[in-house]
Symmetry: C2
Subunit: 277 residues, 2 copies
């Protein structure tokens, strides 16, 4: 059983930290990465956006899962980011092509699914509204992948600022007719599931904080979080951020939905476009 | 007595908030600005960088001062920021030209000095290193203005992250041979002044937090700061950020130095370059 998530956002917004936090193991060895992330001054990373993937076998609720995370180093990091969405769209389409090719084979008993099932897009916590780069990226990708926008480093915003910022982001998304992944609410489900889905839906876009280090709180508990002179933020505390809701949606409640929507809507859309062309 | 400071940085890094914090009055009426800052979705701000200045008479230590702050809305906010430094360099040079023109007049008794005496440059708190846009800007401006780089929204970094980030920023600045404003330390000054200057110097680049709202701390004090569920950051608390040091340098200890260096070195350099050309 295979699930592939892509993370996109400018460098320094906490992407690798979030991956480690979501999957509770050091998928990204941050020591290794921070050596890569800050190349010696003066070395110019080529002006291109990279595509790097890491896989790991995890077990959630007794289900064995092969999880792959695709990182996109360099996105949005240059002075001129005119086509930084392009390598990402090309990669997503190449994965569709690979799947299409498998489907067309005689022996198609065992298809390997390397398609991207979710794209977590990191929004800089400016407190204002979406940047032109964000809007351009989402408009290019929303018909090809399940877009899950998140507010990165949400511990830099107070509760009021988060509420206002979420409202403005949703306004922008609505105005530009961008389709983001919305957990579907089915009528025939039991009350409890409907309530759970609505609770998750009400938090979109998720305001997230990531941490892969254990810190101690004022009252002596050991938690995953960030320790400042003025207080300790707890990643798994729903009063502090929406991390728990993001993980719940991604891994427990809507992973199946994400895979189905990728297969039945996004991939099918791509396939019929390609066959007509 | 005239002092003009320019603020440069991407939108959402806290520039207007810092100005209000530095000068303790609402130089920027944030209500008004946040109406401007988030134009209705879909209105494209022309792709240009604006130059807006606001003046106000303030009194510091019994000295009356005409303070002007120049904001640069739009800097770094586009998908392609190739020449976003250019309108800023042009503005600084136009101010030199205006001063030169006054100097060449017959009656030069009363020169009005609209030159930029300090440029506060806001660095995004990525925790990694300077971005290509930062390096390009600083290289273009360090011979024309006193550059004072600051780490914006430093409450998003833990103490260890601030220390590591400052070190990497200074490495980058050194590697690209960028001249930032360093408070000079004179031999002939008294022990106390030398110690004070060295203390300020040790904090560069300043890690700052801004706030123009009063919040209450856990122990009931009313302070300028930011209140989160996990604790309250106090702007004027030197254990929380370097804001106090920045203000001390800018307004109390080195304002004269900034004016003199602008006049004797930067302006003279420009003037001789222009006369030779
Ligand atoms: N304030 C804050 N800092 C974070 C958060 N997540 C990561 N960081 C820090 O931000 C810096 C960059 O994180 P990193 O994961 O390398 O970002 P990436 O370049 O997007 O992969 C590191 O110093 C992290 O410790 C967060 O949620 N809040
Ligand atoms: N965490 C944090 N937020 C800040 C700080 N200063 C300002 N803000 C918030 O960041 C948002 C943008 O600030 P603003 O001053 O408008 O930024 P500007 O666009 O650079 O002028 C607002 O919601 C501010 O309340 C700071 O030092 N730390």
């Amino acid at each position: 059983f295979q699930f592939t998530a892509m993370v996109v956002g400018e460098s320094g917004l906490g992407k690798s930290t979030l991956i480690n936090t979501l999957f509770e193991n050091k998928l990204f060895d941050l020591e290794q990465r921070s050596r890569n992330a800050a190349p010696p001054p003066g070395t110019e990373r080529g002006r291109t956006v990279g595509i790097e993937s890491l896989s790991s076998d995890i077990e959630e609720n007794g289900v064995k899962l092969r999880l792959t995370v695709v990182d996109t180093p360099g996105y949005g990091d240059f002075i001129n980011n005119d086509d930084s969405w392009k390598p990402i769209v090309d990669n997503i389409e190449a994965r569709f092509d690979a799947y299409l090719e498998q489907e067309n084979r005689v022996n198609r008993a065992k298809l390997i699914d390397n398609r991207i099932h979710a794209c977590i897009y990191f929004i800089q916590p400016t407190g204002h509204s979406l940047k032109p780069l964000d809007i351009e990226f989402m408009r290019r990708l929303h018909t090809k992948v399940n877009l899950i926008p998140v507010i990165a480093k949400a511990d830099t915003l107070t509760d009021d600022e988060v509420t206002a910022f979420k409202r403005r982001i949703l306004n922008d998304i609505h105005h530009h007719q961008i389709q983001i992944f919305q957990p579907p609410v089915y009528e025939n489900e039991d009350e409890e599931t409907i309530a759970e889905n609505e609770e998750i839906l009400s938090k979109v876009p998720f305001a997230i904080v990531g941490s892969d280090t254990v810190v101690s709180t004022a009252d002596g508990r050991h938690v995953r979080g960030r320790a400042y002179p003025w207080g300790t933020i707890e990643v798994d505390n729903e009063g502090h951020c929406d991390f728990v809701k993001l993980r719940q949606m991604l891994i427990h409640t809507h992973m199946e939905e994400l895979r189905e929507h990728t297969n039945d809507v996004l991939y099918e859309g791509y396939r019929s476009e390609k066959l007509i062309a």
